[in-house]
């Protein structure tokens, strides 16, 4: 048997614990590696290029939204019979992406998967930005956006209250709760690292701003004690939350009677799909980011390997769900349901259906091969394809079901407009703008957490090593 190279932590060797951090990192060097990214006086030119493109696309998004608001909802492709077109496809897509962050942060934290420490910050940031992108769509597609406050229960001159038994209202509550809790979780975890940036700050401005957001953190035993409790509790709360959010999103469909929607498998199926797409997005972002910002020793190949295994696992779940759907359509004996699935696979949107199956079920099977799990460009490619596939999945569910439901006389095809396309592309712009700003100004890796998982001999020279 050949010796395992020290810097390869992807091999399972029962005789030793695979290191979570590679190289000879110690406390100071972890801080140095992570902080210097945020401290560089000016980022490399490529950052500016990427940022300029993203900001331009974001501008496109805002322009499209502005145009939609002043003109009316007719600028979108939504129309009879597909009243839920791209806006809802994009919404479900982004919300799904947002699930991996909380999964990695909260669920893996509760399961004591310590390898999560290097990627959780980044995954949480991704969650937050994805939720921000998701929020744009339902908000603007309601039409008269200046009246969205009608969704809130407040005493009003119309003597009306929102209908709390509507899944659409549950959705509002779930998404806003999710956004809030994800933000709290992300920010709470970042406070000690913001304090590190504050303490290293050389300019007055940075000291003030980081200082303000670090809230005066000093890393005292009392503070750490409360912090760990608060973090643990938030993780314990976020775990059921993340499962509930996409379940609630799936109720938007499952509670309706449209063939292809009205099924009880939707909540678990949606959650699995969400985690699947979110993990793919983490890999899509992490592969370039770790190479680009020199974080390979912190975000190691083992992390990516683990993420890819998660993708493979959730891909199997999603594939199983597709299979069950088809089976139930046949076994249930409901002709509309049976037609809905025959129509998906063979009808006018068959291309979308098979693209979805290919990207979500077939392509990820490559991750059975170790080489694919550990080669950056291959995994990047697969992850991007999974993102495409998951977008297609929402498209198939929404458009093919609405396009042809019960009455053939009211069937129709969906055609996106330029505004639809601009909004989708622009939402990626918004996402990457926020992400690039995050990479530039905030600690990308949870330093304090990584320090706690460093091998004990890498800490400062142990003087009074007791145990």
């Amino acid at each position: 048997m050949t010796a395992i190279p020290v810097d390869d932590n992807t091999v399972q060797d029962p005789t030793r614990r695979a290191p979570l951090v590679l190289g000879d990192a110690d406390l100071a060097s972890v801080t140095q590696t992570v902080c210097e990214i945020a401290e560089r006086p000016r980022p490399p030119t490529s950052w500016y290029v990427a940022f300029a493109v993203s900001v331009a696309l974001t501008g496109g998004l805002f322009a499209a939204v502005g145009y939609l608001i002043v003109t009316g909802i007719g600028v979108l492709g939504n129309n009879s019979p597909v009243y839920w077109g791209w806006p809802i496809v994009n919404f479900v897509f982004w919300i799904g992406i947002g699930h991996a962050g909380t999964l990695i942060s909260a669920i893996l934290f509760l399961f004591r998967q310590r390898w999560r420490t290097s990627i959780n910050r980044f995954a949480e940031a991704m969650t937050l930005f994805a939720v921000a992108c998701a929020g744009v769509f339902p908000a603007v597609h309601v039409g008269r956006i200046w009246l969205v406050y009608w969704l809130a229960p407040y005493p009003n001159q119309m003597d009306l209250w929102p209908n709390f038994r509507s899944p659409l209202l549950w959705d509002v509550v779930a998404i806003s709760t999710y956004g809030t809790v994800s933000a709290l979780f992300w920010y709470l975890g970042m406070i000690p690292d913001l304090a590190t940036l504050r303490d290293r700050a050389t300019s007055r401005w940075r000291q003030l701003l980081y200082g303000l957001f670090a809230l005066g953190w000093r890393g005292s035993a009392t503070q750490w004690h409360r912090f760990e409790w608060a973090y643990l509790l938030l993780a314990a709360l976020a775990t059921p939350l993340v499962l509930s959010v996409h379940s609630v999103v799936s109720f938007d469909f499952a509670v309706a009677q449209v063939p292809g929607w009205h099924t009880t498998i939707f909540p678990p199926y949606f959650v699995a799909g969400a985690i699947f797409s979110g993990c793919a997005m983490v890999v899509t972002l992490a592969v370039p980011a770790r190479a680009y910002f020199g974080l390979k020793s912190l975000i190691t190949m083992r992390h990516l390997d683990n993420m890819n295994k998660l993708i493979l696992g959730t891909s199997l779940l999603v594939g199983y769900a597709y299979g069950v759907e088809v089976f139930m359509a046949w076994y249930g004996g409901n002709m509309y349901e049976a037609f809905a699935f025959a129509n998906r696979a063979l009808g006018p949107y068959a291309w979308a259906y098979w693209l979805m199956v290919t990207c979500n079920v077939i392509v990820p099977q490559l991750f059975w091969i170790r080489k694919c799990r550990t080669t950056p460009w291959i995994m990047f490619l697969i992850a991007v394809l999974v993102n495409v596939g998951m977008w297609m999945e929402r498209f198939v569910i929404i458009v093919s079901s609405l396009g042809r439901d019960f009455l053939p006389s009211s069937w129709g095809m969906f055609k996106p407009t330029a505004v639809d396309v601009m909004m989708l592309v622009g939402s990626f712009g918004l996402f990457f703008t926020l992400f690039l700003l995050f990479c530039r100004y905030l600690p990308m890796v949870a330093m304090a957490e990584v320090k706690a998982v460093l091998p004990p001999d890498r800490g400062p020279a142990p003087a009074v090593e007791v145990d």
């Binding site: 406390l27 209250w161 038994r165 709760t177 005066g216 035993a221 912090f227 090593e465 007791v466």
Partner: protein, 418 residues
């Protein structure tokens, strides 16, 4: 140096800071300091050192209880909100399901539990750690900056009863401290700059104005119509009646009826019957036979179509009008009493026209009431007027006897009677 100066000087010492080599050393030192009887000390590290709470003799935090409280409040609050709004204050009938059913309310209850307990965990966690605390003596100590990178420190507060500069330092050194250093309270109280405070106060006050304004508007009454910030669908790209349009040769947006179109009422053109006019003037006579049956028919139509506004007796006090006045509807005009002199002076043709075409704020009824029935209503209105202004002479002599007995049996005068 005199005694007083020394006093103030030592007061400025906030505590003693000692650096240790690593988490284990820090833990050992913490328990050593505790055994020496100190109570006001704190250990600082770049990451949580497990077991240090026990070494320092700290008790568990009550944060979990706060979170539990938040969760219970969120759950009960959401349940109460849904029950009150959807089952009591504005009951929603949804497919004949019960007004209140727990399962349908679970998603919102669940999210509210999570939301409030998460807020409690975050807010409580910060508050129990004494954060935010933007100014602290240690934060201006240069060496202490390493506490968030790789420094392990123990700080003993000068207010500790055991504290003594030299003895405490000796104790720390004996526990393995590398360097010890006194840290001071900042000589000048660190304060938020005054202009900043003022700006925040002013901004906060200004932020209160809009809600106050809204509250005021909602609590007071106004004759002007509601403010419309966004014109919503007030302006639509469409033509309204009587507008002009360049699209058609005649410049009118409204199209004339197709040639050969016939009126709904096909009885030819009888101006007296259909429009209540004779030679261009309001008719003074009925074009239909005046019979008691017709008057009864008129009464039934009047009670249906007119009484809501004009009242059963025609005084202009119908239920719609009463309600409008109760609600102080700004645009409501009181319907004219049919007993007023202006109306009484009108020829029947004019009354017919009022009913057919409406007048000022009163809508026309030609589409709802047939021509014959409209004349019947006119007849009934005349009867109402006649009844209200009747004199004894109007009553046939042979019936006056009955009138006397009726008046005796009922104290009301005919004038206030309907």
């Amino acid at each position: 140096m005199d005694q007083a100066a020394r006093e103030t000087d030592s007061k400025q010492v906030a505590g003693l800071l000692a650096e240790f080599d690593g988490p284990q050393a820090l833990k050992a030192a913490a328990s050593g300091v505790r055994e020496a009887g100190y109570t006001r000390f704190e250990a600082y590290s770049p990451f949580p050192v497990h077991g240090i709470d026990a070494a320092m003799g700290r008790r568990r935090t009550l944060l979990p209880w706060l979170v539990l409280g938040g969760g219970i409040a969120g759950g009960l609050g959401a349940l109460l909100l849904q029950w009150w709004t959807n089952a009591v204050d504005y009951p929603y009938l949804i497919s004949g399901k019960p007004w209140f059913s727990l399962p349908a309310n679970i998603p919102v209850v669940f999210e509210a539990i999570i939301l409030l307990s998460a807020l409690a965990a975050f807010g409580g966690g910060l508050a129990l750690s004494g954060l935010p605390e933007l100014f602290h003596p240690l934060l201006s100590c240069a060496r202490f900056r390493r506490a968030t990178t790789d420094g392990f420190f123990l700080g003993i507060d000068a207010s500790d009863p055991q504290f003594d500069e030299s003895r405490t330092a000796a104790l720390l050194r004996s526990l393995g401290a590398g360097e010890t250093e006194l840290y001071d309270r900042p000589r000048t109280e660190q304060k938020v700059p005054r202009p900043l405070v003022m700006a925040v106060v002013v901004a906060a006050c200004l932020a209160l104005l809009p809600p106050l304004w809204i509250a005021r508007v909602r609590a007071t009454r106004s004759a002007s119509p509601r403010l419309h910030l966004v014109s919503d669908m007030d302006f639509q790209p469409k033509y309204l009646p009587q507008q002009s349009s360049p699209l058609f040769g005649d410049g009118r947006a409204m199209r004339p009826p197709v040639e050969g179109t016939m009126a709904v009422d096909q009885r030819g053109d009888d101006p007296h019957l259909l429009r209540g006019e004779v030679e261009g003037q309001p008719a003074t006579t009925f074009p239909v036979a005046v019979t008691s049956d017709r008057m009864k028919r008129g009464r039934s139509r009047y009670d249906i179509y007119c009484a809501t506004c004009h009242g059963l007796a025609g005084d202009g006090d119908g239920i719609t009008s009463q309600l409008a006045f109760e609600r102080e509807e700004p645009k409501w005009v009181r319907p004219l009493s049919v007993h007023s002199q202006v109306v009484r002076d009108q020829p029947v043709g004019q009354l017919f026209q009022t009913i057919s075409d409406g007048i000022r704020t009163m809508p026309g009824y030609s589409s709802q009431i047939s021509v014959e029935d409209r004349w019947a209503v006119v007849l009934y209105v005349l009867a109402l007027q006649r009844g209200r202004h009747a004199t004894l002479e109007d009553v046939p002599t042979e019936l006056r006897r009955h009138l006397d007995t009726a008046l005796q049996g009922d104290a009301r005068t005919p004038d206030t009677e309907r």
